[in-house]
Symmetry: C4
Subunit: 196 residues, 4 copies
């Protein structure tokens, strides 16, 4: 099975997820600045989730860049990832509407955690493809950021019990960490091209 | 008419269907775990429909993999399938909001049944294409899962009258059965390539 | 400017239009068959608009099949068409919620009329492209169905003043007329290929 | 990283943005012409935002037409642009529901301004790509319309304090100015092809 249609479908799903989240942003009821201010939390949670979906799209893009053909396992590992990402509009809206309360902060962290695990499983499924060589496996395997992220999410979930707003700090930190795009694949391509 | 744009359009529609279903998942009204628990049924029905749309996307992908050009009949058979799939957000939301009552369970089963029939008609329309050889027809014709599924949906509709929740069992069973992707096309390609 | 990205964007917009209309289909408030029956009008109006968007997608597909490069005029004529098509979720929802009253029926007809005029203007813009030969212009120019449709929409608008439900008859008739796909382009390609 | 998938993703996001705005257009509560008239403001604000998203899509299309490969900076500059564009459904809905009051008019202008700045930053990121030659930089650099637009948005914000409706005039003027597509890239390609 060619990976191009899987990429196109994933792009479509991610494009819809990233965009419909704005529908959960309630239009202010009044017409003054203080009415808009009530949408401030919604704006920030929307921004955070937008960045996360953007990060997943960017990493997904990189991961499949080196894969031409996929099998059924990769296909379902990919849908499994999309499932958890598709819940972001729901968990983001709850986080916003609850004004960043304890349980919604924990649930948002669990959603981030499930997406991270799903991405990890997708990587494993891709490593098992016959066309993916040992070398790429080693390169992708050194996924420091991917290994650190779940620990940060757990930290955020723990901190939420101290103070809900505090739980957001590790979530934002991970997003900032990932904003620097993943150069492992690029480096691998450069090395192989230069005959390394 | 080339099949690539038909595939791209179908991917777009399926990507939107699979994603907007989450908009029907009501945000909990309170901020506690028991408020989230009320979304439990919604989560499970969303998961079931997500898996079904994923299955249809995967099978659609396989089916059109061997078709380069399509005619008007295939085009409309495809839109007919997309129509029934596009009703999933509606029937899933009703199933959820009714807490899996009798009639919504039956209607969900009818929706599954109509989609299955539409997929079967799409297969027939593809068989009639001059570019699709006799051999592929025989291979695709041995569609055991496709023939079993409607029987299971009817069983689910029947069981719903005994106990609504029981009706979900065959629906879930069919989804699990399909999670193993359809290898007929892959096998056919392998056989023809190896000159079999 | 290449027409492929314009086609991809149009496919995306049409895929979203055809799918989000289902969000306007209100979930029944009760759990019985008679509660679902109230969604009957919504189901039929949804079906009608689904078929119309499908027809426009199919004809759009045909029209751009013979066009490799487009200019700014075609680009905006295309966006103009997408604008009117994007109003279908709105006019369809009003038609449904009003239980097919007079003014919503007339407004739905006006929406159909505007889309038809926009499609006609898009054809004119494509005719003006230097790459589109005289012959294709003649072939596409014999657009009997395209010329009949506006007359039917006007008839529907007129009949709505007699009896709102009656106005739907010509709208449905035009949809049925178009379900037979447009073979002019196919015929043109066959003729030119065979050196005619 | 190839620019084709970035373009496909951007097309998807823009297609969803331009289409879901119609969901914010409230269905009239009555069935008469005067009920529809209340949607008049919504129709006009929807039209304005539709044209703006169309303009951004068209310019985006032109900008990436000459770029084959992008780096991480371009990727995030692009997502940054999509973020501000994705807020249009929100700011448009507020503008509509407030019947074009002062603050929503100012906020809409700020949204236009942020999108314009994001587009400018995206251009800068593209100029920094090694594959983009000096010449193209000069050609794209003469972006008179891009430099005028922010001034007009600021004018609109200022005029809104005189009279909210007046603030719309510069917003509409900029949209009209951009409706004439950007021919700089086309001219550049013509000149280089002709060996100029």
């Amino acid at each position: 099975m060619e990976s191009s249609r899987l990429q196109a479908f994933s792009d479509g799903v991610l494009a819809v997820i990233i965009t419909i989240m704005v529908l959960e942003l309630k239009v202010p009821e009044g017409v003054h600045w203080h009415d808009l201010a009530r949408s401030g939390v919604g704006f920030l949670t929307y921004l955070l989730s937008f960045v996360y979906v953007g990060i997943y799209w960017s990493n997904h893009h990189h991961l499949f860049h080196v894969v031409d053909r996929v099998d059924g396992t990769v296909l379902w590992a990919n849908l499994h990832l999309l499932f958890w990402l598709s819940l972001f509009p729901f968990t983001t809206a709850w986080l916003d509407e609850s004004s960043v309360s304890l349980v919604p902060t924990v649930v948002y962290g669990i959603n981030l955690l499930c997406a991270a695990v799903a991405y990890y499983l997708l990587q494993l499924a891709i490593f098992r493809l016959p066309s993916v060589g040992q070398r790429l496996r080693v390169v992708l395997g050194r996924d420091l950021k991917g290994k650190l992220s779940p620990a940060f999410y757990l930290l955020g979930i723990g901190l939420a019990y101290v103070e809900p707003w505090l739980g957001q700090v590790p979530y934002v930190a991970v997003a900032l960490m990932w904003l620097v795009p993943d150069r492992r694949v690029e480096r691998y391509l450069e090395v192989t091209r230069s005959g390394g």
